[in-house]
Structure formats: structure tokens, C-alpha cells
Symmetry: C2
Subunit: 323 residues, 2 copies
């Protein structure tokens, strides 16, 4: 069953269920461990990226059938899950949002193979279901941007000289690119005009930027069962936007704490308090809102269509996670 | 400079040098660690797969220019290096043929990213340089077979019931598929007839099978500086063909040793002696020869061309590694 965020949109929810079914069919391979693992990882998620792909496919001159759309919607989720799996192995953190990460649960070996297998499946679905080489190349280039974004992350890790420019460049690749690709591919397969394709791509990008920043803010505000803040990422030198804003402002207290070789729980508390007191969290929230507002404004400029309303509601719902 | 195995073929050597240069240009990315690592890994190798691609591209009706061939030759080597890097991380073995493995030298994090980045680059080069979607799909399906071959390896690991069928299926994907793809892609871009394309594909497959079996035999016969056999793979439950032949023959002494939870150096010696005494090594050599002979026979059936001689010489040179 599709995630509850789609309950007001049963038609879309149905298509997302079909997309999940399609993925599960595709990963029925002889290696049951890998097969089960991927089925597990692609069940019950929000399926945001395929949803955006489907929603944006409706603004052009051609109405593609569900059957034509599903493999491409699936390919996007598959690429997403592949990068997620490898990210978790690379970060080597045991938990993601208080839940065991993929490689902790299934072993590193399976996790690397599963990621590779999904990259391959993505490549297959793309080349099987897109008619123009230019569209296939566009996917390859997006995948490259995502990878480069992840590599850029290494330049920020443990770097107290990190700037918002570096951060925006990183998340623009790491997160926003796939949202942007989903929207653009939707517009392309729906035979939208070049102007609409570019608008969709930009909207996707802004939605993705907002999504990552909101994720950063949620991570910052998350607490363990004992009510204490848990900033696993911070201790691993992965700075989210609220910290980056403080570092860019050359906040000397924050720079001093984060320059330590090893961060204690007390250091974490001190850094948290600085971010709260000096307004960096509020500033991050304002930036997220700017991306969301621009996305909504641009959605309104799309050709008149019922999906505009859905898109705006979904974007607002995602941004309300931090209200 | 191209590897010494090409010294009798300076024209081919020159093209392989250009292929290496092309790869090094493509991986000039901001992340210098990854960039240097890939340059290192793609320098001085035999470049067998690109060489076969180039050699097989000459049997059709169209002579493609070097400039047209290089990016595709590079893409094949890039896919090869990507799988190699991830394999080493997955096996987690510190050494490959007495040299430190990629992740030991560069760190696991860099190794996973570098592999992913190379998969992406492969995908990009393929979609940028192949005109027909069917040829792109063919590459995607080959990549999938390679991955599935690697997954099949898990079914053999530590499995004393492993059979030669399982082994051939595994190496058919893991190793032979990429040789087969190189030959087939060469034939396709050279506009060969369907019959020649299929012949090239089969020749590539047989060369690849022989190559892997010979590698297995070399591994079996390798000794440390103190002259002792070093069977890292065996201790990790990775059985090469000489052992598989003994296991399939239900050699009870061999089954008993390999069924142990942990193999001591003495166990390794015992297993080695069984393989030698009971003729499994010789049997493996015969099988390698069969694949080589069939490849040579089929090369002779290709359209008359100077490259036939080169191909036969290279295949014999590779098979002479175990004489």
C-alpha cells in the first residue's frame, strides 16, 4: 500500500503501488538475500521521486499510458535506493534516524552488490524505455552529478572553513539533481514544450533543495528516546546547514568546538546551543522556505492542470514537516 | 606506454595509449584523491578488453576512425576497473597477487565512490557514443550479467557441494561476459554481418573463460617469497576450478579438509597436494586449453584480415602463461 502521504490522491497512490510492484518483479533474482533486501528497501517508502515524475508527466501534449510510465518511475526510485545503500556503507554509521542502516542489517558485502545491481537495473530500464539517446545521456549526466555531489561532500566533512556555496553545490548534486531529473523526465515523456521542460527541471531542483535543507533541520532537531539531541552526523564531521551557517559567519565559539578532534556529548550540546541562540536554525528555516516558495510560484506558471494543485499541496506538506 | 605484451603490435599499442590518455582526461574531477586513484588503476595494465574491442572492430564493412573508437574502448576498460574495485572491497582481502588491494591502499570509502563514479562514466560514454538504443541496452544487459555472475559467486563460496556447472555459470558472467561484450561491440561498430557479430561474441566468451581458468591455475600455483603456496582465496571460501573439480568428483579427503571452519596453513598444504596428486590441476589445464583451441578455430573462420593473426597470437600468449 502506498505511503499515507498519498491518501488524498488515490489515483496517484495506485500508480505508485504499481511502481513498487514493478520494482519487486524486476529484482526477483536467484540471490535471495539481495532480492529480499531490495524488496524490503523499496516497500512502504514515500516514493516522492516517482510521484513527482508521474505528476510532471501531465503538462505536455501526450498522455502516456500508466504502463509506459511505470518502468521509468521505477527507474528513478531504483537509482535513489542504490545511492542510499552505498551512502550508508560509505558513512559506515550504524543508524540512520535511529534505525539500523542497510549494511548494518544486511552486511557490507550484500549492500555493495545490491547498490551495484540497482545501478545496473536503472541503466537497463532507462535504455529499454527511452526512445532518444539524448534522453538516455541526460540520465547518465544526472547520475554523474549525483555522484560528484556525494564526492563534494567529502570536501565539507570536518572542514570548519566550509561555506554555504560549497554546501549548496553539494546538495544540488547529492539530493536536488534527482528531484530535478524526475520532474524533467516527466515533462519530457509527456512531450512538454522546451520552456515547460526547463521550468519543471527548475521546480524539481528547488523542491529537492528545500527537501534536503528540511531534512537537515529535522536531523538537527531530532532527539533520542531520553530526549537528548543525537547528532551522529556532526560527530562524523558531516555538517548540516545550521552548522554551516555558523561556520560561514565565522562564529568563533562554534569554530572552536567543531575544530576538536573528537566531539563529546557535551561538545554536541554546546554546538547545538550556539546554533539555537545565534539564530542559525531560524536562518536555515528561512532558506528552506525561500526554495519552497519559489517552487510553488513556478508551479503556478505551468500549463493549467489539476496536477498543479496536487503538486502545490505536496510541496507544502513536505515543507510543513518543520513548522 | 602500453603494456609490453603489445610491443609487437605498435599500431594497436598506440591506440591503447590513446585510450589510457582518454580515460585520464575523463576522470579529471575536483576530488583529487579519487582522480589520482583512478589514474593509478588505469595505468600500465594490459588493457586486454579494449584491445579485443579494437581488434574485432576491423572485420566489418566500415572502418571507424580511431577518434570514434577510443571512447568506446575506454568505456570497456572503465567498466572493468569499476567491477574490480568493488570486488576488492567486497572480498575485503588485503592483497591481490601479493599487492595491496585498492581499498587497502585508498580506503574503503574512496573505493566505493570510485567504483560508482566509474559505473556512471561508463554509462555516459556508452550513451554518448552509441547511435542505437539497442546497442546501449545490450551494454546494460551485459553489465547486469556481470553483476549476477558476481552474485552467483556467493553461492559457491564455502560450498563444498559446488559443481563445475555452477562455476562455469559464475565465470561466464563475472569474467567472460566482458570479453564477449568487447568482441561483440567491436564487431557491431565495425558494421559486421549478424553472423560475424555472433561469432565474435562467442570467441570473446571463450577467450574470457580461458582467461579466468588460467588465472585460477596461476593463483593455485603462486607461491609466497618463502616458496610456500598462498591461497588467500581458498581460506576465504572462494574455490577456483582445480578445487571445484575435486569437489565435484566427491573427493572425500578434499571435502573433509575444505569442510573445516577455519583453514590452517597445513590444511592448505593438504588440499594443494590432493589437487596435484589426483590430477585436478591437469584437468583444469585441459579445460582451459579446450576454450583456447575453440577460440582459435573460430578466429580462423572470421573474414580474412591481418587482425586474425594478431588475435591468434594474443590468445596463444595468454594461454602460454600456464605452460
Amino acid at each position: 500500500m502506498a505511503n499515507s502521504i498519498w491518501k488524498s490522491y488515490p489515483k496517484l497512490g495506485k500508480k505508485l503501488d504499481l511502481t513498487t510492484d514493478f520494482i519487486h518483479q524486476e529484482v526477483k533474482i536467484q540471490n535471495l538475500d539481495i532480492s529480499k533486501m531490495i524488496v524490503d528497501l523499496t516497500s512502504g517508502g514515500k516514493m516522492l521521486r516517482p510521484a513527482f515524475f508521474l505528476l510532471f508527466s501531465d503538462f505536455g501534449t501526450t498522455k502516456k499510458t500508466t504502463q509506459e510510465l511505470i518502468p521509468l518511475a521505477a527507474s528513478i526510485e531504483i537509482l535513489h535506493v542504490a545511492t542510499l545503500i552505498h551512502d550508508d556503507v560509505i558513512d559506515d554509521s550504524p543508524l540512520r534516524r535511529s534505525r539500523p542502516t542497510v549494511h548494518t542489517k544486511y552486511g557490507r558485502r550484500n549492500a555493495i552488490y545490491a547498490g551495484d545491481y540497482l545501478f545496473t537495473l536503472y541503466f537497463e530500464l532507462i535504455s529499454r524505455n527511452l526512445q532518444h539517446n539524448t534522453d538516455i545521456l541526460l540520465n547518465a549526466l544526472s547520475m554523474k552529478k549525483i555522484l560528484v555531489g556525494e564526492l563534494d561532500q567529502m570536501l565539507i566533512n570536518f572542514n570548519v572553513d566550509a561555506t554555504t556555496d560549497m554546501y549548496f553545490k553539494e546538495i544540488s548534486g547529492k539530493t536536488a539533481e534527482l528531484f530535478s531529473l524526475s520532474a524533467k523526465m516527466g515533462a519530457i515523456v509527456g512531450d512538454s514544450s522546451q520552456e515547460v521542460i526547463e521550468r519543471c527541471q527548475n521546480i524539481g531542483h528547488d523542491i529537492g533543495m528545500a527537501f534536503q535543507i528540511i531534512d537537515d533541520i529535522l536531523d538537527f532537531s531530532s532527539t533520542s528516546q531520553t530526549g537528548k539531541p543525537v547528532h551522529e552526523d556532526l560527530k562524523n564531521g558531516v555538517y548540516s546547514l545550521p552548522y554551516i551557517l555558523g561556520l560561514e559567519a565565522k562564529n568563533q565559539k562554534l569554530v572552536a568546538v567543531l575544530s576538536k578532534d573528537h566531539l563529546s556529548d557535551e561538545d554536541d550540546n554546546v554546538a547545538t546551543q550556539i546554533v539555537l541562540d545565534d539564530g542559525y536554525l531560524d536562518q536555515a528555516k528561512r532558506i528552506a522556505r525561500e526554495f519552497t516558495d519559489r517552487a510553488v510560484l513556478e508551479i503556478e506558471k505551468l500549463p493549467k492542470n489539476h496536477n498543479q494543485v496536487i503538486l502545490k499541496n505536496v510541496v507544502k506538506k513536505l515543507s510543513n514537516r518543520i513548522k
